[in-house]
């Protein structure tokens, strides 16, 4: 089920009513758990079994790890290995199975061995990368001694399955959410209203901006079969840059809003990433729950920056390469991650050589560096959006002026939309770089906030999106 659908509106209304009825707290949590399974099964019912499997495996393994805390490390480690193997086994089979077969085929071919893999007709379970990381964070936290096993299965199952974050994050940690399930909670009037406001904002980003304003331009440029000129290549990439931000940040904002309506707080997942100055700043603002997950469960265990300088760079690259692969089973995603790893490494090297920490002095310097960061991030989006390296090369050739005679691709109306929306996104993000939305709304006249929210909701209603799935559902 997607947030931008009529089905979700009805579903959410029913869930809200049930949650406000005077049931015992355990019954309310049970309602939420059942609702979350309905939310997931509404996409493709059989895949609920996979979710149950992942939930149950980590429930028992975490208890096993905790029960063996006084035994030798090898026992605890074996429990962890089972958990990681099962979770990565699920995701490996469903998400990377075809990719692995294709690469094996290519490897065999390089030795002159012809082997044709069987047809791979497996549907990718929606959100598998997200809930796998959620269950793994639970087991890893217990293993690392950051938290104890959750005493009640209901709280644990609801933590894994809670529908606002289930299919596209934020990737929550047990410490963030489980304590909220342990005591009765109900949204106050202001939490409910603010939650609805965030839901409207998220839907506006998704339906009006990402789908209605930018998707067609990105599709036209990245779907072009021939060379793409300079203006088209840049506008198509800027369109995708805005689309993926509004799509994913829109989902996260809607998820936070929906959860707040129920009285539960989810963490921010985006903080004005296109106003970032540098790449470490970018990753503190973009998909925060993934970048912190990778930091805590991959980069730090690899050694982080505690070893030699060379080892730190290797850890950084490995983390970003795997982060790229997490997004999709394709080498283009690996290159995307690799480019970010390279950017982060170069930035780290420059900072260590110049001794500059934090933002540079001077507003114009900060603005120039932010625009440079944004431009370089756009280069990486080419690999993220293109489905092949040929396609990426076509767009990059255009962006660097190597296709001056290419036929135009984008109709003027698309160019106008992309330019206007991109400029708006950049201005808004720059102005809100160091403030939260809540602070801005606190300062605005109430009638202006109301007028803006009404305009957004009205735009969502008349845009009548076709219920397009969020881009991150496929990851």
């Amino acid at each position: 089920m997607v947030f931008n659908s009529l089905t979700f509106l009805v579903f959410f209304a029913v869930v809200l009513v049930l949650h406000r009825l005077p049931f015992p707290w355990t019954a309310k949590k049970f309602n939420l758990l059942v609702a979350s399974y309905v939310f997931y099964a509404a996409w493709n019912p059989p895949f609920i079994l996979l979710l149950w499997g992942s939930t149950i495996v980590d429930w028992y393994i975490a208890r096993g790890i905790y029960a063996s805390r006084d035994k030798c490390r090898a026992v605890r480690r074996s429990w962890l290995v089972i958990s990681v193997a099962v979770n990565l086994g699920f995701i490996g089979f469903f998400k990377y199975g075809e990719f692995l077969l294709q690469n094996w085929q290519a490897l065999m071919a390089s030795f002159g061995i012809t082997w044709v893999p069987p047809a791979w007709d497996i549907v990718l379970p929606v959100g598998i990368s997200f809930y796998t990381f959620v269950t793994m964070s639970y087991t890893l936290d217990v293993y690392l001694g950051r938290s104890k096993p959750i005493p009640k299965f209901l709280d644990y199952a609801l933590f894994v399955t809670y529908f606002p974050h289930l299919v596209a994050g934020p990737i929550v940690r047990p410490t963030q959410l489980v304590p909220q399930f342990q005591v009765p909670r109900q949204a106050t009037r202001d939490q409910m209203l603010w939650g609805l406001g965030l839901l409207i904002l998220g839907l506006f980003q998704k339906v009006v901006i990402a789908d209605g304003g930018l998707a067609s331009a990105a599709d036209a440029v990245f779907g072009a079969s021939g060379p793409v000129g300079f203006a088209d290549a840049w506008l198509g990439t800027l369109a995708f840059s805005g689309q993926i931000f509004c799509d994913f940040a829109g989902y996260s904002t809607a998820a936070v809003g929906a959860s707040l309506c129920l009285g539960f707080a989810l963490p921010d997942n985006f903080r004005m990433p296109y106003a970032a100055i540098g790449f470490s700043d970018f990753w503190r603002r973009w998909h925060i729950s993934l970048s912190t997950w990778l930091r805590d469960y991959l980069y730090v265990p690899l050694g982080g920056n505690r070893g030699s300088e060379a080892r730190t760079y290797v850890n950084l690259m490995l983390t970003m390469l795997l982060g790229g692969l997490w997004h999709g089973a394709s080498w283009t995603f690996v290159v995307w991650g690799g480019l970010h790893g390279l950017y982060l490494s170069v930035e780290r090297w420059v900072r260590s050589r110049t001794g500059v920490a934090g933002d540079p002095a001077g507003a114009w310097n900060r603005l120039a560096l932010a625009l440079l960061t944004y431009a370089l991030v756009n280069i990486t989006w080419v690999f993220f959006r293109a489905t092949t390296f040929d396609g990426a090369a076509r767009v990059l050739a255009g962006m660097f002026g190597f296709a001056p005679d290419a036929d135009p691709v984008l109709p003027t109306i698309y160019m106008i939309k992309v330019a206007a929306i991109t400029a708006s996104i950049l201005v808004v993000q720059w102005l809100m770089r160091n403030v939260t939305l809540e602070e801005v709304v606190s300062r605005m006249p109430w009638w202006l906030t109301g007028a803006v929210a009404a305009a957004m909701l009205f735009a969502v209603i008349i845009a009548q999106g076709a219920g397009e799935a969020f881009i991150y559902f496929q990851f």
């Binding site: 509404a42 996409w43 950051r146 410490t175 106050t188 729950s289 003027t412 929210a453 009404a454 909701l457």
Partner: protein, 359 residues
């Protein structure tokens, strides 16, 4: 327990210090007024409540009727002409059978005929529309229906439910028309493009009203609004697809022959129909896909009955507002004419005799 980062503590969310109650009431009032005004404006432009629209979900509902056996043994496949030019009530009245309407705008019926032949046990009667320039080409068809042949089986409960809720709301709200969405209205602005890019302005705009069982009618505004009619004609005439090559025609004929044979082997049959077109559109069809190269050859090779409007006087003389589709009144006349031909040929399409009560 170790606490290292903000990810290790319970999340709390700040709530703005603002008059959220007043803001909520203001939003509600403004949105109600704005939506009411928008609804009034859309009705003024000719949209009507009860126009259910069409899409992959609506098509999937019909296709699932074939899979479940919930049908009267008649299926229509093809492009938009047979959608607009067929009146399902007239069909039911004349034959006692209501066809399952599986035709799709911009599509060739060939792949749908193959779908029925290969992926179903359908053993009834198939009427397949031939719009020559669509039938004898390889194309993806209308983007709104891309992947529809897989979609009907894969459609999950959320999409199915959403479809029914959408139809319910469409019965009361005229503005719920995806061809008059905000995005479409912006994209339909006429702005000069670079080079030869057609742009969204030259995509087909709203042409139809859609009702139960995917009954299409030509939108009244196309009959009465000259600028909309001229836009549609400009779109049709601007699409120079060129003549298909011999190899493609041969491949399509062979594919049709195979599909027909499979359906006949199960006891069913297939009839082809060529609905009328006019003006510059008809002339281009004559030039690019002349009857002897395409229509006659396919009927001969597949050994099937074909109903070509040029062969029947009562299927001629229509005035097609935008050169390609009949008005809803003319669709009744055309349906009566071609179903009459079918009834003569197929005993099974004659309605069962009404028995007078004894005494």
């Amino acid at each position: 327990m170790k606490q290292l980062h903000e990810q290790d503590v319970v999340t709390e969310r700040e709530i703005p210090r603002a008059r959220l109650g007043a803001i909520g009431w203001l939003v509600l009032a403004l949105v109600v007024v704005a939506v009411a005004a928008w609804e009034w404006k859309m009705r003024d432009l000719g949209l009507v409540a009860g126009d259910l629209g069409d899409g992959k979900s609506a098509w999937a509902v019909e296709r699932r009727k074939i899979a479940s056996g919930d049908h009267d043994g008649v299926v229509i496949v093809g492009g938009s002409r047979i959608l607009f030019d067929t009146n399902l009530d007239v069909w039911a009245e004349m034959t006692g059978r209501r066809p399952v309407q599986l035709a799709l705008p911009g599509m060739s019926g060939q792949q749908f005929l193959r779908d029925l032949a290969v992926n179903s046990r359908f053993d009834g009667f198939v009427l397949i529309d031939v719009t020559p320039e669509q039938f004898f080409r390889v194309g993806r068809g209308h983007p709104a229906f891309e992947g529809v042949l897989d979609y009907w089986e894969d459609e999950g409960p959320a999409k199915r439910t959403g479809h029914h809720i959408g139809r319910f709301l469409s019965r009361y709200l005229a503005f719920l028309d995806n061809q008059y969405s905000l995005t479409e209205l912006i994209d339909q602005l006429e702005i000069r493009n670079r080079g030869k890019i057609p742009g969204p302005f030259l995509r087909p705009w709203k042409l139809s009203e859609n009702y139960e069982d995917r009954q299409y009618h030509l939108w009244r505004e196309i009959e009465t609004n000259e600028s909309l009619r001229e836009h549609a004609i400009r779109v049709w005439l601007g699409r120079g697809l060129g003549p298909p090559d011999e190899a493609l025609i041969a491949r399509i004929c062979a594919d049709v022959r195979g599909s027909v044979a499979m359906i006949r082997a199960r006891g069913g049959d297939v009839v082809f129909i060529r609905p009328p077109s006019s003006g510059g559109y008809y002339e281009r069809e004559q030039q690019n896909t002349p009857r002897d190269r395409t229509w006659d050859r396919m009927l001969r090779e597949a050994d099937v009955l074909g109903i070509h409007f040029e062969d029947y006087p009562d299927m001629q003389g229509f005035e097609l507002p935008e050169l390609s589709h009949l008005t809803r009144e003319d669709a009744v006349r055309f349906t009566r004419a071609y179903v009459g031909v079918l009834r003569e040929r197929y005993v099974g399409l004659r309605p069962p005799p009404v028995l007078e009560p004894a005494g």
